[in-house]
């Protein structure tokens, strides 16, 4: 029983969607086992709803960033892809002119 009452570890804030869903799955399984005390199931319920909200946040609040990684020594500088592509398309001298792909 003691093992069943063990709480599900909530993934850290930086963890991705996959971890959130994994934790959610564990919470639901615990909850559905029906072996939790009333107190523990209320806690699991809150945890589960919290994880669902977190998953929704990860999906809905995702800030669309489509960027290009600039070649350079650091290699981590980025620019928005659309503007860069638009700006460089007319003068794409270094690209294969006939690239059909």
């Amino acid at each position: 029983m003691a093992a069943k009452e063990k709480k599900t570890a909530v993934p850290a804030e930086g963890e991705g969607y996959g971890e959130v869903v994994k934790a959610l799955e564990a919470v639901v399984q615990r909850l559905e086992s029906g072996e939790l005390s009333l107190e523990a199931s209320l806690e699991a319920f809150e945890q589960g709803i919290g994880l669902v909200r977190r998953g929704e946040r990860l999906l809905k609040d995702a800030e669309r960033r489509v960027e290009e990684l600039l070649a350079g020594d650091g290699g981590t500088k980025t620019v928005p892809l659309a503007s860069r592509a638009a700006a460089s398309t007319p003068a794409s001298s270094d690209d294969d002119e006939d690239a059909p792909f």
């Binding site: 998953g55 489509v66 290009e68």
Partner: protein, 523 residues
């Protein structure tokens, strides 16, 4: 063209530049060769010649390849310039049948002709097929692809950021972005631009992979649109395949169309048929995930509700079983009263019994007490004395009456002398009588005293008062025999102070605690 000399004979000394039409002429070697070269090279132009490689010794110091191809009849030299050599996609070796695609060249200094190869393909195979087979063997031996490769990694459920290696201007990127954004409008994508065909493209793809791994992307898509086998060749290049295999994050390859398979596909974690398919594999449909989350939420709620209902059911059952606490209390109170009555009765009975027992014990104790014995003996003594006195008094009375009667008889019967004599005898008798009574009293008193003393001597406390100790064991029993003692056993010696009174009790005794050091049994 000069005219012929006289006699129509060929003039051997004419300028050798004259054509042979006028008869045999002497030509310089150079002129002949130039002439042949001028005739033959343009006449053949580009030729395709098939033959078996022989005399291949690898590139020379300048990187040119020299070898020959031959068949049953003839042999011809082949030259592959260093600028062309890197384009060979298979390893040359003697005995290999190849088709040389090139032009005929006459090399004046040696007077030999050869084929300058532009392209070289193994006959019966495509060059790429052979090269592919050879590279594939090598990569499999190194565990980069094939059964010995590292395990395939799962793709993130929802990528934080997708790295894409492809050409910035290609249709592949456009397709990928379109599908990815449609599936999840919030998806983040980081492009690392690389040429995906032609000289140097393999290096660019490798660099792009390296650069992306330095960022926070958690999956990388390597993609390009469809093209000829030649166009897709970059993704069969060894460095590209190795870089994909060594990538820190999962790699999805999507090269060309469905039918195109490159070695890169074997090194990747997931092979997608097209750029669009790659987007579908990498970017989950947000709507689907939201639906899944809603489903999870429902399950959480349902499970919690069920749990609550279960408890509510239990509560209801308990509530029905619950009686009014006051009623319960009354009942309990009655039971408590009954119990306390019964208890009191039992206690009273026990108390009475105890009291009676105590009284009996006290009485017995009282009887046993030396003082009591003494008092009892005194009472006996007093009674004896009373009886003695009464007996004495009665005896004296009787005797006095007898005396009086005798005196009367005497007085009646005989006169003076006899009376005097009788009087004298009488007083003597009286004295004796008194003496006898006294002696009897004294004897009784002495006997009593003796018995009291004996009694006193028998009392253990009196014995103790004489300086004897009583040895008690821990359990309160008296140690009577030496053998009964255990070595190491704690014993208590009880001693009465000398001259302790008659009424001393054990409580007045002092105590010495000792430990048995040795036991010597009585002989």
């Amino acid at each position: 063209m000069r005219r012929d000399g006289p006699g129509g004979q060929p003039d051997l000394f004419r300028s050798p530049t004259r054509p042979a039409a006028a008869g045999p002429q002497v030509l310089t070697v150079g002129a002949l060769t130039r002439h042949v070269k001028g005739l033959l090279e343009p006449a053949f132009g580009r030729v395709l010649v098939r033959g078996e490689v022989t005399g291949y010794r690898g590139p020379n110091t300048r990187g040119h390849l020299y070898f020959s191809i031959k068949d049953a009849e003839a042999l011809v030299d082949v030259k592959v310039w260093a600028s062309t050599a890197p384009r060979l996609r298979f390893e040359l070796r003697d005995g290999l049948e190849v088709t040389v695609d090139g032009r005929l060249e006459i090399y004046a200094p040696s007077g030999r002709y050869s084929l300058i190869a532009q392209r070289l393909e193994p006959s019966g195979h495509g060059a790429q097929a052979l090269a592919l087979a050879q590279l594939r063997e090598r990569l499999e031996a190194d565990g980069v692809i094939g059964p010995g490769r590292r395990p395939v990694r799962p793709l993130p459920v929802l990528p934080r950021r997708v790295g894409v290696v492809t050409s910035r201007t290609g249709a592949a990127l456009r397709d990928f972005l379109e599908v990815a954004t449609a599936r999840h409008p919030g998806v983040s994508i980081l492009l690392a631009d690389a040429r995906v065909q032609g000289e140097g493209s393999a290096q660019e793809v490798v660099r792009a992979l390296e650069r992306l791994q330095a960022t926070d992307v958690d999956v990388i898509v390597v993609t390009r649109g469809g093209g000829s086998a030649e166009d897709l060749w970059t993704f069969n290049e060894e460095p590209v395949v190795r870089a994909i295999a060594a990538c820190r994050v999962p790699v999805v390859s999507a090269i060309g169309h469905e039918v195109d398979v490159t070695l890169a596909d074997f090194a990747a974690d997931v092979r997608a048929a097209t750029p669009s398919a790659a987007a579908e594999r990498v970017v989950p449909a947000a709507a689907e995930l939201l639906r899944a989350l809603a489903h999870w939420r429902a399950r959480v709620q349902k499970a919690a509700e069920r749990r609550l209902l279960l408890d509510a059911g239990r509560v209801e059952v308990l509530r029905r079983r619950l009686v009014d606490p006051r009623r319960l209390l009354d009942g309990e109170r009655l039971r408590l009263a009954d119990a306390s009555d019964a208890l009191a009765q039992v206690l009273r009975g026990q108390l009475r019994e105890g009291r009676e027992g105590l009284a009996r014990d006290a009485e017995r104790l009282q009887r046993c007490h030396p003082g009591a014995r003494l008092r009892a003996d005194r009472a006996v003594l007093a009674e004896l004395r009373g009886r003695l006195e009464r007996a004495w008094a009665r005896g004296a009375l009787e005797r006095a009456e007898g005396l009086r009667a005798a005196q009367a008889r005497l007085v009646r019967r005989s006169p003076g002398p006899a009376v005097a004599e009788a009087g004298a005898g009488l007083s003597a008798l009286r004295e004796r009588l008194a003496g006898a009574g006294r002696a009897q009293w004294d004897g009784a008193r002495h006997r009593l005293e003796r018995s009291v003393q004996a009694l006193h001597a028998l009392s253990p406390l009196a014995v103790m008062a004489r300086g004897y100790a009583v040895v008690f064991r821990v359990d309160g029993t008296v140690l009577r025999r030496a053998e009964a003692a255990q070595v190491g056993e704690a014993l208590s010696l009880r001693l009465l102070p000398p001259g302790a009174g008659e009424r001393a009790t054990l409580a007045d005794a002092g105590e010495v605690q000792v430990t048995v050091a040795a036991v010597r049994p009585a002989r």
